[in-house]
Symmetry: C2
Subunit: 468 residues, 2 copies
């Protein structure tokens, strides 16, 4: 028996017998080495094996601790992934640079077709404001941002039954700014964050930048969100904050049910964990009612709900917000040091536009068109792509999430299509842990056209070529 294996089995037994309790600190490497007579390296190896088994976890500069309850460890625990060192920024940087070229067919884009977002009425309101002096005043862009706009945003929560005042809202330079400010306000280097296994790469980038340890939970194949894996992660690791996307999920496209959201809210309260909710696609529903945000199920005011107008009115708006509640001042502190709030001109204009009936009309048209275009893409792709591909279709959002045959790597597919000026988004962008299965995300917001059809035919041909 290896020396390290002796330590491993000894600690396994102590945990099983209850001699070592959940969240109890283990002897330090040095102490364990002196007690056992084994070298530091042997003890370290043993601790790392126990960590890989999910029996213990480490905290930066503090040491090793016994993990939480081991119930059901057999099923979900293998699916939980613990990432201490993320490296995704360089990949995302080059992806964005490469797919930013003018002549790319942008099936990779995270935005709806900009032809659908352009609203002449909003543009004319901006033009009117541009000629007025008040839209250009000195203090208009200091945090928390334009009061009238904050009140209008607060009203959108109120009509969903979520008590909100303008003071809860902080205007930001887009949703990415809102998400980053929220994460900075809630975490310190070394803290644990819980992410969905596939999520907007900005979540991984921010975790890398802030030196966080990531626990990721797999998606549920049917319901989108795996409550068992979620609860197990909360039990097992000292999670400080979750960053989740539950409505028109990017990249996959599902919307999580109210029942599951209610349970997520209970678990957040039970484990006293904060949630940063990325809800930039909240308006992209196909049904009668806008899906609820986690703010509706937020019992302790622990949810920071982030969204923006960029996916609705164009990336040129660069206006996002966070429903920050009691964290409003902490977030404004950080804004004041960095970016202030956002263009006062656009804030003023948006205020006027939102209080007209044109905004809701714009959204209704946008949703109807997106639903139609996505269905058309889905039907066409079922015909065009090789039947070794598995197309995941959900009734929300404008993404299709496509599983490739095992022999085809999505990164290779991405690179070869890029050479033909066709953009797709490989799954490694959304999950830097590099799963065995490869997927890609396709933007289906565009009107079907001969050019789009030709691009999709090439995607299909390339998949066939690569799988030979």
């Amino acid at each position: 028996m290896l020396k390290s294996a002796q330590i491993v089995s000894q600690i396994q037994l102590l945990i099983k017998n209850g001699a070592l309790k959940a969240h109890q600190k283990l002897p330090s490497l040095r102490e364990q080495s002196m007690q056992s007579g084994f070298s530091l390296m042997t003890v370290l190896s043993a601790y790392q094996q126990l960590e890989a088994q999910g029996l213990i976890y480490s905290k930066q500069k503090s040491g090793f601790y016994v993990a939480g309850a081991q119930v059901d460890a057999s099923s979900a625990s293998e699916a939980l992934q613990h990432t201490t060192k993320i490296e995704i920024n360089s990949q995302v940087f080059h992806y964005l640079k490469d797919t930013q070229q003018q002549d790319i067919i942008p099936l990779c884009s995270a935005f709806p077709d900009h032809a659908l977002l352009f609203n002449p009425r909003l543009m004319s309101i901006i033009a009117q404001h541009a000629k007025k002096r008040p839209s250009y005043q000195q203090n208009a862009n200091l945090p928390p941002g334009n009061l009238a706009l904050r009140q209008l945003i607060a009203n959108k929560y109120i009509v969903q039954g979520i008590a909100t005042s303008a003071d809860d809202i902080v205007i930001t330079s887009g949703a990415l700014d809102a998400l980053n400010l929220s994460l900075e306000a809630l975490t310190q280097a070394g803290d644990y964050i819980l992410l969905q296994q596939h999520i907007f790469y900005g979540a991984w980038q921010a975790s890398e930048r802030l030196g966080l340890q990531v626990i990721s939970i797999p998606e549920h194949p049917q319901f989108g969100f795996d409550l068992d894996a979620f609860e197990q992660a909360l039990q097992r690791y000292p999670i400080k904050v979750c960053w989740l996307m539950l409505n028109s999920h990017n990249p996959i496209g599902f919307t999580v049910s109210d029942e599951i959201k209610a349970r997520i809210g209970e678990l957040l309260q039970q484990y006293q964990v904060h949630l940063i909710e990325d809800d930039v696609y909240q308006e992209m529903y196909f049904g009668q009612h806008k899906p609820l945000s986690m703010k509706f199920f937020d019992q302790d005011n622990d949810v920071l709900h982030c969204s923006s107008f960029s996916k609705l009115l164009g990336s040129g708006t660069r206006i996002g917000w966070v429903h920050a509640g009691r964290y409003s001042e902490a977030i404004q502190h950080r804004q004041q040091m960095r970016t202030l709030s956002a263009s006062p001109l656009i804030q003023n204009a948006l205020g006027d536009f939102l209080s007209s009936q044109h905004y809701e009309k714009h959204l209704r048209t946008l949703r109807r068109t997106l639903a139609q275009n996505k269905k058309q893409f889905y039907q066409a792709l079922q015909r065009i792509l090789p039947n070794t591909c598995e197309i995941q279709y959900f009734e929300s959002g404008y993404f299709l999430w496509i599983k490739l045959p095992e022999s085809v790597n999505a990164d290779t597919l991405y690179q070869t299509l890029l050479a033909e000026n066709i953009g797709i988004s490989p799954s490694s962008l959304f999950n830097p842990q590099h799963d065995q299965s490869s997927y890609f995300r396709l933007n289906c917001s565009f009107a079907w056209s001969p050019e789009i059809e030709q691009a999709c035919v090439r995607i299909g041909e390339m998949i066939s070529t690569l799988s030979e």
Copy 2:
């Protein structure tokens, strides 16, 4: 003789004899304790005394090192200040909130009177662009920003004899964003940064946020910049980056001569130190020629030059830039994770405006008006303020820097005037080390009026009251 004093004099001697050389690592606390037989606390106390004497310096997580050459230590060294823990954010936050009220007389403002910045021609160009689709395109706000605008900014350097291409320029969300991105690209927590003793509070805030150690050098009473203190700081401390303001300095108002700038450039090269130059007031000169930036004296491409249009065309623009040179990609990396570049609409419009003759005309009028208004303020304040005040007047910028009589504290003056809705900026905002002498900054960009005169009279009366 105290035990710690024994260690102190021993190490002093070893440094003097050359047995311990500049930047050589001292024995660790534990080693020194074992060698000397004294306790850890005694050794720590000795090292702290040596650090206070400027003979050694500490590096986070690394240990203690012998400081650089001790020449002329008598004069300037006492003026160098070493700040390891900055706490200014909370003060700045409340200052900005308090002085942001609508009815404040904004003699505290860092911006010129907005009546001078409002340009109807620019506004009508923005209005035209707001109606066009391209200004709202998806990728237009990805780093490094609008190409035409970057080329126009590059041209401004070229006409000053500074070889620059559009690729050197990165567009940011205002100068504050440019400065922060530059500092993040160049430093890690624990690094040494050199600041002027009084400087825009954003420099202190950024240093606090990033956990930097600050070495600050006093201003030269005649020339603005103290070259001796600067060289001594570079000799003595392992400075990684300097953050300086040399043109129309905020808060004091001086502009440093070309001769001094040339020498700063030589020293930066000699000590291989980077410079982040805050040059937001570069256009605020009263003479015939725009003062040179440090990019002109930048031999190794180590200067990151930051500026913006906010002080020229209104804070509503929120467009700044950094001449980033070889750091362009590092800065774009950080932008992509946070704020992207800036409003594509305003970038497009600015491009058109800058390439017309209206921009230079706007600047000429602005400069002429600011020079007139500042002179009028200066003459009136000499009459109005008690003669125990010392008004510092420089031929650039729109600030006056006023030294209070010894018995008057600028923070107290600020608070009492705030209660009467008069805003001034106390010196503690620009130097959190709290000097004995108190100053305040007065914004003199406004046209003299009965309301302004009344406010200045109240400032004078309050100073007299507080000095009784």
